[in-house]
């Protein structure tokens, strides 16, 4: 009976022993996380106050950072955007430090892999941010130019360009992250090619009249028959 009880108690003792040994690590992780989050929040608040004190937003306006953010549909103040980036970097650092405090070999290995992967993640996020800004800027430029030219399908054209660029940028990001590169390349080729083919067919079938009008207008312009607009705006 005693042996039987030992059979039950020993694993429990062992588990308790392991847990007791693990507990300080867990507590250390929790402390690191709590302190890290507090530090990140304090850093964010201090950074915002500092950036306000040095009039960072005006400086960002002058050198065109604000304008670049607006081009990409990012409406936060540059100081708040920078503070948010710093906050999340600190949170990621805190999480990494907290996890390594657990001293679990599997987690340590994962963290090591993560740290090795970090440069790729960083460059992928740069591609994503720059791509997002560029896509927003270009599609808006196309929309405004098309409207000002009197093109009837301006929104469709701008959205098509946004979609094509988004697909292209996402493919670039996944390629950079080395996420199933073969599949990404194949998927990208299929999706991108599909969209282009769909647009071509859509224009060919639905836009016959528009194409005819454009060709006729060009022919008239070449022949000098198009109605002249003599008005001088300035």
């Amino acid at each position: 009976m005693k042996d039987f009880l030992n059979l039950i108690v020993e694993p429990l003792n062992e588990l308790f022993g392991k847990f007791a040994a693990f507990l300080p690590n867990l507590l250390a992780m929790l402390v690191i996380l709590i302190l890290g989050i507090i530090a990140a929040r304090i850093s964010r608040a201090l950074l915002i106050r500092f950036l306000k004190a040095i009039d960072f937003d005006s400086w960002a306006d002058r050198i065109g950072v604000t304008s670049m953010l607006r081009k990409g549909d990012l409406w936060a103040k540059p100081s708040l955007a920078l503070a948010a980036v710093v906050f999340w970097l600190l949170i990621i650092g805190t999480l990494t430090a907290g996890m390594s405090a657990l001293k679990v070999p599997a987690i340590d290995q994962l963290i090591a892999q993560f740290l090795q992967y970090l440069p790729r993640a960083l460059s992928a996020s740069i591609i994503l941010v720059v791509g997002y800004v560029f896509t927003g800027f270009l599609s808006r430029a196309v929309l405004i130019t098309a409207v000002n030219s009197g093109f009837r399908a301006a929104k469709l054209l701008a959205e098509s360009i946004r979609l094509l660029l988004t697909v292209l940028i996402l493919a670039m990001v996944l390629e950079e992250l080395r996420v199933a590169p073969g599949i990404v390349l194949a998927a990208f080729s299929i999706i991108f090619g599909g969209i282009v083919a769909a647009l071509a067919i859509a224009f060919g079938v639905g836009g016959i009249d528009a194409a005819k009008r454009i060709i006729e207008r060009e022919t008239r312009r070449e022949a000098g028959k198009e109605e002249q607009q003599d008005i001088e705006h300035v």
Binding site: S67, F137, R140, I144, V147, G150, A154, Q229, E232, V234
Partner: protein, 419 residues
Amino acid sequence: MAQITQRQEVRTFLDQIGSADILVGIPSYNNARTIGHVVRAIQAGLAKYFPNRKAVLVNSDGGSRDGTMDVVRRTRIEDQAALLLHHRVDPTPVIAMPYTGPPGKGSAFRAVFEIADALGAKACAVVDSDLRSITPEWIELLIRPVLNGEAEFVAPLYHRHKYDGTITNSIVYPLTRALYGKCVRQPIGGDFGFSGKLASFYLAQDVWQTDVARFGIDIWMTTTAIANRFSVAQSFLGAKIHDAKDPGSDLSVMLYQVVSAAFGLMEAYHPIWRDVRTVDAVPSFGFEYTVGLEPVQVNVGRMTGVFREGVRNLTEIWSDVLGKGDLIEVTRLAELPDREFRFPPSLWTRIIYDYAIAYHRKQLSAEHLLKSLTPLYLGKTASFILEAESLGQEDAEALIEKLCSEFERAKDYLIARWQ
């Protein structure tokens, strides 16, 4: 940046001349076809009206490849008797040189200001190189008020077709007048007279590496003169006819350049214009006469078409700039048939002020913001053409005056929202 006066050929010219009473500048870029006439008119004007004054003619060129500078160098008045000149006329010293700095009319003017400053010129004038209607009298009308001490800056006053100059009539003139309190009818006319002192003042401003050097120099000169309390006048020059514009020139680019220059100056001179509460007429010179103007063809349907496309596609941008209330009013306008299409002056005024505020707050990239104004501007222009169709020149001018009054009345709205 290297000064133009440090260049060897310019230095030699300046050393030969020493000093001058009058300087006339012509900015140019590939204007060989028209600049000869402009040079002849200037030489005739100087010979006829200022025979006892020492004058120079400066051609500031942007790197023409059609021999523009050669035309300037070899052009002389051939038949003096035809101009009723009975005194001996010495040829006006001429220098034609390429300017330095960013390409644009502003850099060309900077070179003119530098030479005026170096020669200690008392009075200067600048005229466009593509003018076909310039006469010798233009030089007198732009220079005389300055030499007589009656004005330090002389803006042009033209008779134009009622449909022409719509960016001036619906934006720049009402805005400049309401902001700075001076009724300068053609603030971006392009042909100006000014004192040597004002030329030196212009030269001393730190703007020659900015957009002012590329475009917007006309509104910059006018606004800088008014805002810095130089005495301003205008001279009636008759009709302004110039070479046919480049058919490829894009309206939205033109609108962006003109409006961004005006809005940019609002930033610089905010402390000045926020306190201006009255609007004063400026002294006018020259004998006003009626000018026969060529008919102008317009396609109102295309204008309203672009306006309606804007309403269909640009509501997101317009909503951020104009706010919901005015956007609803704009949307209602788009539903009207062409014959009833009228843009209320109060709505147009708020639109321009809202765009100025959005530009000030950097709500969007400046180029996108101001290019998104194009459909609204075309809507306003179409409305003006429909309204002025059956009106004479004076009644059409009264419509513009009514719009100016609206800009002045709504100025408090702009001041309140600017902060």
